[in-house]
Symmetry: C2
Subunit: 325 residues, 2 copies
């Protein structure tokens, strides 16, 4: 796992992933007390950065392997990213989802061309189902974060941040990244180490689910004690990955933990001031940048909005709670 | 008013205006029955394309004129565009607004550094107030659309569309543009005439307020019979401008009229499928592309989302009415 894999992924992603802009607003600067630059990956295909890693991984497979198809376990953003990446390569994708996944997410994944296989959380072993399907059909598993090509794909966000921050005159400061298993944050960290050494990644996670921050602080992998109870469910994972953790340990600064309320308020501000849709887990980095200014140094801070796949009702409730942001 | 003024405006706007991406979604393609490419100018500074024209006009003033300041009549997107353009030039801006303008719009304009002068719609003559202030202080009036430098600034959207459509392999088809006074649509039309002659502008307006479409069809300027009654209030104007109309007459195809309900539904789909915030008037072009497919020819259509300055309550009501888009 190294920088060259990221530039190679960028080559494969050219003309496929969108180059998302770097946004800002004087109103957000005012709240944060410094210049805030936002990388809105909610504008990426399928509404999250996950398309980058999925495309990177699928496109890196040898053709005879790829044509047999890919498989993924996900009820969320990774599922849609893999589905679209496979469809655009013209190869089959099987997505294993729990039967109680939101109907819209199942429908979206099917509409993107994937075969969705549902399982009962309580009684069935998804890994066994997946392993059997993979063996029968010769499918390749695309992991959500702990895969070098997936990390390389997410790292292309870091290449763009380095370039766009330089265009904005920003060479020093923190880059706060929404963090689940650490694919996006570790990929960005590797890219910045090479392209913008004055920029340092710091993770943002939901309060009570800040396994990455605690792992980085401890110098060894720490797990979350629970998996349920945050509205930022898209970025709740048991612990950092075996590939992502060492990168974060080496390169990342102290992580942030963000309350659900601050995530909702950041969603409302992204609506009001940036005109983009952030999902709760996608808003935690912006929330940290805006509402934890004392934990940040320097004149400028950069943050990701990692995804925008939020249902209308939850989004409306965020706007109702914070109608003026 | 010619193409060279647009490229000159683009030079002045470099590093100032955002280059907004060109978005798409297979879900929207499915609804429209063709490939739909969306230019989201809601992501522009101040949440609408208006910043481009305002910056173009302010930056084109001779320095000794500019430093005395500028003045505009607007309660909406033009006000914010002029306020930010003036502030970034370090010159004063006075914005004349009706006293009953939404508090948030007044506050935003003040926060962007402008002096807001309120008048009573019923009893006061805003033109007289503006003329007196302009004379006293030597302010230059920045008109919302019927000014060559404003049209040139909005035309930079067309330069980007020509380039981005070519990157997407689209050289033929309609470019549907949200239309009030016609500054954006005439500017884009001039840019496309030169850079992408296979692309043709068509205006989109609210039903009952389609003065541009009727004017183009009639070959002479026609007015709206009313000014109130559309939720797309940001793009309701009495009639096309004296500069914008001849350009549209020469270059634009038949215009679209869009119902309030279709605008709301397009807002919900922009939320769900593109993760961007569209205001009602900013959604009419997308609504035409999606819901009037029989009025369009070809494999691809391009449309603008011209702005995203909508209050949280109205936005939430659009999502409540069309939760699945």
């Amino acid at each position: 796992m190294n920088y060259d894999m990221i530039t190679a992924a960028a080559d494969r992603l050219r003309g496929q992933a969108r180059r998302t802009p770097l946004l800002s607003s004087p109103f957000l600067d005012e709240i944060a007390g410094r210049h805030v630059l936002i990388k809105p990956e909610c504008l990426q295909h399928t509404g999250s950065f996950k398309f980058r890693g999925a495309w990177s991984a699928v496109s890196a497979l040898p053709e005879d392997v790829r044509k047999r198809g890919v498989i993924a376990f996900s009820s969320g953003n990774h599922a849609q990213g893999v589905a679209m990446a496979a469809a655009r390569h013209g190869v089959p994708a099987v997505i294993i989802m729990p039967q109680d996944a939101p109907r819209l997410k199942i429908d979206n994944t099917v509409a993107l061309g994937a075969e969705v296989v549902l399982y009962q959380r309580a009684t069935e072993d998804r890994d066994a189902i997946g392993a059997q399907l993979a063996e029968e059909r010769g499918l390749t598993l695309i992991k959500p974060f702990d895969d070098p090509q997936v990390i390389a794909g997410q790292g292309t966000v870091g290449l763009e941040i380095a370039q766009q921050a330089a265009e904005a005159g920003v060479y020093q400061g923190d880059v706060i990244v929404c963090c689940g298993g650490g694919g996006l944050s570790s990929g960005i960290a590797l890219a910045l180490e090479h392209d913008a050494p004055g920029l340092r990644v710091r993770t943002a996670e939901p309060e009570g689910f800040d396994d990455a921050a605690r792992s980085v602080a401890a110098g060894e992998i720490r797990s979350n004690t629970a998996m349920d109870g945050s509205i930022c469910d898209a970025i709740v994972t048991p612990q950092p990955g075996n590939l992502t953790f060492p990168i974060l340990h080496r390169l990342a600064g102290p992580g942030f933990a963000v309350s659900d309320d601050d995530a909702l308020r950041a969603m409302a501000l992204a609506f009001l001031r940036l005109k983009v849709v952030a999902e709760p887990g996608g808003a935690v980095a912006l929330a940290a940048a805006l509402f934890q200014p004392d934990q940040i140094e320097g004149d400028a801070v950069i943050c990701t909005i990692s995804g925008g796949n939020v249902d209308a009702q939850l989004f409306a409730s965020a706007l109702a709670r914070y109608p003026q942001g």
